[in-house]
């Protein structure tokens, strides 16, 4: 029995299963006792022999179990190379996606940069022409041929700008802080609609659909019938503003402003839109001065409905 216990202890030591203190004591005994060392060596070989028996036993079983198994005819599809790194496939897919995404993002950045540049150039040209038109208007006897030619060129540039901003999906800078009115069709009256009301309703529909030229036509038609119709003036002002014809829009907004009571919201909205027109034409020193004056007037009134927008404009324009 004592020998069996010794055998168990040797086995536990060989398997590293003895507690540290016991293992150290056993190690010391081993160093001091050659007979014990010999016994340990023999036991170690015995364990290897048992390993061998176990392997042999499993191998015999595996060979026996394979007796009834048919060797599969492996087709090409299943001969795929086993991947040295199992995540390699997904890694490749992810890399390809990453490269494609990168290329797409790069293309978008490049495209939007080119479009932005085009818009900036068009806006600069329009501003320059607006200034020239403004100066022509200021002259006592402007040359009508020159005025027409400039107006035509200006209109062409504006059309190009509209196309460019439509493609980019972004509003151009002059429209920052401009809120499109929801209703320009005038007040609804009971009974039969007058022709002016019909025109204004149609004009409003065109305006809401961003068909600004048609909206302008309807507003002008209404104004021919009723030259002082406030709603028609307002529709015309917004239609012109929407077409970026700021030089023409500004005096119309002034008319709107005058048509409303001084402290009414309608007058304040018109004043704000005049400010935006001045801002869009700020390439001209006179317009810039008007813009700054209008802005500082609003900034002095914290209760003004456009006070917060004015603060933002002051920040973005670094005034």
């Amino acid at each position: 029995m004592a020998n069996e216990e010794l055998g168990d202890k040797i086995e536990a030591w060989l398997k590293g299963q003895l507690p540290a203190a016991e293992a150290a004591a056993f190690q010391a005994a081993l160093a001091a006792d050659p007979a014990l060392a010999e016994e340990v060596e023999l036991h170690r070989l015995t364990l290897h022999a048992m390993d061998h028996l176990s392997e042999q036993h499993l191998q015999q079983h595996v060979l026996a179990w394979m007796e009834g198994v048919d060797i599969e005819e492996v087709k090409e599809e299943s001969e795929k190379k086993p991947l040295a790194f199992p995540y390699q496939y997904w890694f490749r897919v992810a890399s390809a996606l990453l490269i494609l995404t990168g290329a797409f993002v790069f293309y978008q950045i490049w495209r939007s940069g080119a479009e932005k540049q085009k818009i900036v150039n068009l806006e600069a040209q329009i501003r320059q022409q607006d200034s020239m038109l403004f100066e022509l208007k200021q002259q006592a006897a402007p040359d009508p041929a020159k005025f027409d030619s400039l107006s035509r060129e200006n209109e062409q540039l504006r059309q190009q700008l509209r196309g460019a901003t439509k493609d980019s999906g972004k509003p151009s800078e002059p429209f920052a802080y401009y809120s499109k009115p929801k209703n320009l069709g005038g007040s609804v009256r009971m009974g039969e609609e007058s022709s002016v009301e019909q025109l204004l309703r149609a004009g409003d529909l065109f305006f809401q659909k961003s068909d600004l030229e048609q909206a302008e036509d309807k507003a002008r038609a209404a104004l021919k019938i009723e030259p002082d119709n406030r709603d028609a003036i307002r529709l015309l002002a917004h239609a012109l503003f929407g077409q970026q014809r700021f030089l023409e829009a500004e005096p119309v907004f002034a008319r709107v402003q005058n048509a409303y009571a001084q402290s009414s919201n309608g007058a304040k909205e018109a004043a704000w839109n005049r400010l935006l027109c001045h801002r869009a034409l700020a390439a001209d020193a006179g317009q810039r001065a008007l813009f700054k004056a209008a802005l500082s007037a609003i900034l002095k009134e914290p209760k003004h409905p456009y006070y917060r927008q004015a603060v933002r404009i002051r920040t973005t324009d670094r005034l």
Binding site: N3, E4, G7, E39, E41, L42, H43, R44, L45, T46, H48, A49, M50, D51, H52, L53, S54, E55, Q56, H57, L58, Q59, H61, V62, L63, W65, M66, G68, V69, D70, I71, E72, E73, V74, S78, E79, K81, P82, L83, A84, F85, P86
Partner: protein
């Protein structure tokens, strides 16, 4: 993996299942890849199984399976074992042409390197008799005491343990009586 590590009858059942269901594919791939005969592929599969079994039962466990599924790994090891079997038999195997797992190659190489040692052990173990071999296998493979008692017809646990000890002692006695074999094993195989 746990079942393979647990040992005993559970481990045997898992190996039976793997052999019956996967050996056809593993051997088929080895035949296709190396041009070996079917019986050589079967031998190769058994060698691959031994490598996997040993690896799973070591401390590092199934780390190697982070690289591939068990089936892929077994197939890879079977191909390499078949290729080595053919080389050993002086046949010219077809170039495998695919990347095999280093662990599988290592296990197979080790198995072939220890072939002489196994022959020596085999000779030494003949001295303890078949019954003793069976007792030692059952203990080594982690069979429960109840299963060992039933299998060997022992009356109780103490008898089973005493028999195991006696079998081990019989083997040691052979080694003591044959110091040349003992030193051969120590120096060349398990030093």
């Amino acid at each position: 993996m746990e079942a393979l590590r647990a040992g005993g009858i559970v481990r045997e059942d898992v190996w039976r299942y793997l052999t019956v269901n996967w050996s056809g594919y593993c051997c088929g791939t080895a035949v296709k890849r190396t041009g070996c005969k079917e019986h050589e592929a079967k031998e190769a599969f058994s060698i691959a199984c031994l490598g996997v079994d040993k690896r799973i039962r070591t401390a590092s466990g199934d780390d190697f399976l982070k690289k591939a599924s068990l089936k892929t790994y077994l197939t890879s090891a079977t191909i390499y074992a078949a290729w080595t079997v053919m080389r050993q038999r002086k046949k010219e195997p077809v170039e495998v042409g695919i990347k095999l797992y280093a662990e599988g190659e290592e296990d197979v190489n080790k198995w072939f390197r220890q072939r002489d040692c196994r022959e020596i052990l085999e000779k030494a173990l003949a001295s303890i008799g078949e019954r003793c071999k069976k007792i030692l296998v059952l203990f080594k493979d982690g069979f429960g005491m109840k299963e060992i008692m039933e299998e060997m017809g022992f009356g109780n646990e103490d008898v089973a343990k005493a028999q195991k000890w006696q079998c081990q002692e019989r083997f040691k006695a052979y080694l003591r009586a044959n110091p040349n074999i003992s030193s051969l094993l120590k120096e060349n195989c398990y030093g």
